[in-house]
């Protein structure tokens, strides 16, 4: 069972990163909406994961994306920030009775409404930090908010589509 989980999570990390680097790198809808699908990896790690491995994994994934984007440190910074917020947000929005053990925070387990409340603020926090660092010095507050807002919507919509298409509905892989 453990080996199966290992394969599952290595795929979960590898494939969104590859898609991000090879397909989504140059895509920006209307010049403002970017897609950071690799955040789906960080969002769908199990709720029981301890905080330190979560932070280290997010930092590593962010750094990997950074190397390809030539924005060394920016994705890593924002992704670590997201990972830091995640446990607190999970605690705040936990359903009555708490999470079941080994439950994945995905649409098939928790439902679409819960996933939206879970992912929208976290992805928005990520985008805000990322664009703040990226546009540092240009003094374009409206531009930063604009890009963050539309990138969040685009990313979450794509994350939902990916989950509906590719994530297995059965429990306990």
């Amino acid at each position: 069972m453990n080996f199966k989980r290992l394969i599952k999570y290595s795929f979960l990390i590898l494939i969104p990163c590859l898609v991000q680097i090879l397909l989504l790198k140059n895509i920006a809808l209307f010049g403002v909406a970017f897609c950071f699908i690799y955040l789906l990896t960080i969002l769908s790690l199990p709720t029981t994961i301890p905080q330190i491995p979560l932070l280290l994994t997010s930092f590593g994934i962010g750094l990997l994306i950074d190397i390809f984007y030539d924005t060394l440190g920016m994705h890593a910074l924002a992704a670590t920030f997201l990972a830091f917020l995640r446990p607190f947000w999970l605690k705040i929005i936990s359903p009555i009775g708490g999470y079941e053990d080994t439950t994945d925070p995905s649409i098939s387990e928790m439902g679409i409404r819960w996933f939206l409340t879970y992912s929208l603020p976290l992805v928005f926090a990520f985008c805000l930090v990322f664009f703040l660092v990226n546009q540092w010095g240009t003094g374009e507050v409206v531009n930063i908010l604009n890009k963050s807002f539309f990138s969040t919507i685009f990313t979450v919509i794509l994350a939902i589509i990916v989950q509906l298409l590719f994530f297995k509905r059965s429990r306990g892989i």
């Binding site: 140059n26 190397i67 910074l77």
Partner: protein, 278 residues
């Protein structure tokens, strides 16, 4: 003492978070100065070869366009050649031998490009093995593209003109007034021309070209066309907006230019304590 350790241990995840964020900020600061020695970037072998394969696949779909661009440039060049051959017998003009040896040109293909961020970079498919060095200027038939930042054996990373950190020494072609081109991070088709004094008459429609002062680009490579001149806020300088001639969303094949005497010029200005913006 034990209490302190227990306290720190209870805060361990927060401390790790702070540590990682400081590390990330250090990476950002250390790697985003225009001339900073980049260590992990897309010129490393594995990353470069992956991007290269991707660009080969994507490039296949724009071959027709690339062909057309090459064709029009060929036509342009052969026209120029004809002009040069027009007076073969009357007078022999000796080209200045110093100038002829000053600049060296090389060709390369862009395998990765971005235009949407505030600090955009390009990756080229040539590196040290092909004679590419940090600091070389990059341009194509349309105009200036950027400047090489760091090189590995087979790949090079360049700062795009669409990078708020890059200044390019330039002048207005009609009256030789010089200034610096700097991108403001807004539209990928427009940049600003800085440090042009108010007494200069800059007109909408004037061409802006490289000035040749900074030993990176030869004089006269096209940069853009002035689209608006405003006398605003700053009491000393004009606010000039330039439409770039290079279409950064389509740039694929570029030329690199090296000034073989850049070292000499640089050390001379270093000797005389002149701080030059690049």
């Amino acid at each position: 003492m034990l209490r302190i350790f227990q306290f720190l241990y209870s805060l361990r995840s927060f401390l790790i978070f702070i540590l990682l964020e400081v590390l990330a900020i250090w990476l950002i600061v250390a790697n985003n100065s225009p001339q900073g020695g980049a260590f992990f970037n897309s010129s490393t072998a594995v990353v470069g070869s992956l991007l290269n394969t991707q660009s080969v696949v994507v490039g296949f779909f724009s071959l027709a366009e690339a062909n057309e661009a090459l064709l029009s440039e060929n036509a342009h060049l052969s026209e120029e050649l004809k002009m040069l051959r027009l007076f073969p017998d009357s007078v022999q003009i000796e080209l200045d031998s110093v100038f002829a040896a000053t600049f060296e040109f090389k060709g390369a293909r862009i395998i990765s490009n971005s235009i949407r961020f505030a600090q955009n970079h390009l990756t080229l498919n040539k590196g040290i093995n092909d004679g590419i060095k940090p600091g070389m200027g990059i341009f194509n038939a349309e105009g200036v593209v950027g400047r090489v930042k760091s090189v590995s054996a087979n790949y090079a990373v360049a700062i795009s003109l669409l990078n708020t950190g890059l200044l390019i020494s330039s002048k207005i072609k009609s009256n030789n007034a010089f200034g610096s081109i700097n991108w403001d991070g807004k539209s990928s088709r427009q940049a600003r021309m800085l440090y042009v004094p108010r007494h200069v008459t800059a007109l909408v429609g004037d061409t802006v070209v490289t000035s040749g002062y900074n030993a990176v680009f030869p004089e006269g490579i096209s940069i853009g066309i002035i689209s608006s001149v405003i006398q605003s806020g700053d009491p000393n300088y004009l606010d000039i907006l330039v439409d770039l001639t290079t279409d950064f969303s389509k740039v694929r094949y570029v030329y690199l230019v090296e000034n073989t005497e850049a070292n000499e010029q640089d050390s001379l200005s270093l000797q005389s304590k002149i701080q030059d913006e690049f």
